[in-house]
Amino acid sequence: MDNNIYLQDVTISFTTKAGTVHAVNHVDLNVNSGEITGMIGETGSGKSVLGMSVLRLLAANSLISGSIIYKNSDLLQLAEKELNQIRGKVISFIPQNPDAAFDPTMKIGKQIIEGFLYHDKKSKAAGISHGIGQLQNYSFHEPQKTFNSYPFQLSGGMRQRALCAMGTVLSPKWIIADEPTKGLDAIIRQQVSQVFLELKKTANSSILLITHDLRLAQKICDTVIVLYAGTVLEQGPAGKLFDEPLHPYTCGLIDAQPHRKLLPLSGMPPSLINLPAGCKFHLRCSCRKDICCLKEPALLEVNGQWVRCWKYA
């Protein structure tokens, strides 16, 4: 039995006043264990929603169909009680925006070891020493002091690292990290990325990294998935995907980087309430053909990469 996470025909929608928002549409993915898998795409492409759906952390107005298989059980069908044994311990989620993720009235340390005490049923003293050790791993110079601080007493970069420390406190098999480097400066970004590489190597953790930071994805990911309007447009080994991107959307994202051409993609992402017919990207695509507006292409294998585009059909 492997430790991969299999997403099969996962579709997620939200019921809102304005209509049904189709955030994720028929996603089939194998996320390999032992690797760092990057998930990239613009704001609103469904990255975070897909990440959160694995642990069923979505808001009450969400509707999920399909299945998410981990170790022969469907995470979407498990009872809440069974899922709680997985959350944080086997699969953990590191949310984005550390300012909002911490309880402002509770000390950092207490929040970090909360999951540890819940799952491992150890004494409080053991929890505290474990928590302080954990902070040390994330390059806090004064772990004892940080442990007893409130979130507002830490800088943004420190809070981000503390959040990573909290997410990995039980050395989970899987870590789903949502934009762990957003708004961080170069040095802290490097520290956080080192931590992830370390976790992969020493704790043998598998990581699903949701990010806008293409440089980071290129540097530390083994596999990269490109999402657009809740659909996988391309998937492949990170090195290859960034050197020879196949899908026009991936090319556009790469060219938009400031150290490349700084060329914005034309147009806007489509409304998730009224998704376009055919290929979801066709409205913004420069290589559009007639068929692109009519029929959605399948995900096809091209030289070891997977791509959803009529150019390669």
């Binding site: 704001t43 708004g183 400066d185 490097q190 806008h212 400031p258």
Partner: protein
């Protein structure tokens, strides 16, 4: 157009304010009209404080600020009002820059009214022109901030600034909350605005890719001081200071 010499700002903290932190320590620099000075440094290096000092949004402890030949170091906030429309700032987070209770149209009008620039008809035309310039339509005017995306909001903020015809803009991490494609759009708009209106930018960022793409000259800050200032090209080719070398290396080949 802007000359700053020996400016210092210290913050007091702790019991009875006995702990002093020099956020900006004896910094001097000057800016040319229509050009961009990039300001890089780590979190806490004093970049944002320096940007606010340059606009006199916060008072400095010592030092001289000369804007277009006028010394404004000792100007009171009241005196600053006449110059304020020429010296503006664009913030990092557009969601917290706009009042959630006001429509986009109201937000756009507010600074214009405050500075009492022209009549309502003229204002309407101006708003339409500036929205078009930043790539937005007038259908947004009746909406409220939560109905717009981050990129749209940041462009609304830029349109609102352009209405005042500023000569100096401090851009405080204007794209760090935006994704890579929207970032490219916003930078394009900023560059076009600079070309059209000859605005000087003080561009604050910790993203060395963005700074390189946007700046004519770059100043590197560390612990409240500017430790190096060079043309953008030279800085990346031959950084003089060890700290700059480290910074470049960490960012580009981490």
């Amino acid at each position: 157009m802007l000359n700053i010499s020996n400016i210092t700002k210290k913050f007091k903290s702790g019991l009875l304010g006995r702990t002093h932190t020099f956020a900006v320590n004896n910094v001097s620099f000057s800016m040319k009209a229509g050009q961009t000075l990039g300001l890089v440094g780590m979190s806490g290096s004093g970049k944002s404080t320096l940007g606010r000092l340059a606009l006199k949004l916060i008072p400095g402890d010592t030092g001289k600020i000369i804007f277009n030949g006028i010394e404004i170091s000792d100007y009171t906030m009241k005196q600053m009002k006449t110059l304020r429309k020429e010296m503006q700032i664009l913030f990092q987070n557009p969601e917290s820059s706009l009042n959630p209770r006001m429509t986009i149209g109201e937000s756009l009008e507010e600074p214009y009214r405050f500075h009492d620039i022209g009549d309502k008809k003229y204002l309407g035309e101006q708003i339409e022109e500036q929205l078009q310039f930043v790539g937005l339509g007038t259908e947004l005017l009746g909406r409220r901030p939560h109905q717009l995306s981050g990129g749209q909001l940041q462009r609304v903020c830029i349109a609102r600034l352009l209405l005042l015809r500023p000569k100096l803009l401090v851009l405080d991490e204007p794209t760090s909350m935006l994704d890579v494609s929207v970032q490219a759009q916003v930078i394009e708009v900023l560059k076009n605005a600079q070309k059209k209106h000859k605005i000087s930018y003080l561009f604050i960022s910790h993203d060395l890719d963005v700074i390189k793409a946007c700046s004519d000259e770059i100043a590197v800050m560390n612990k409240g001081r500017i430790i190096e200032q060079q043309s953008a090209e030279d800085l990346y080719k031959q950084p003089q200071e060890e700290y700059t070398k480290q910074l470049l290396d960490t960012f580009l080949n981490f």
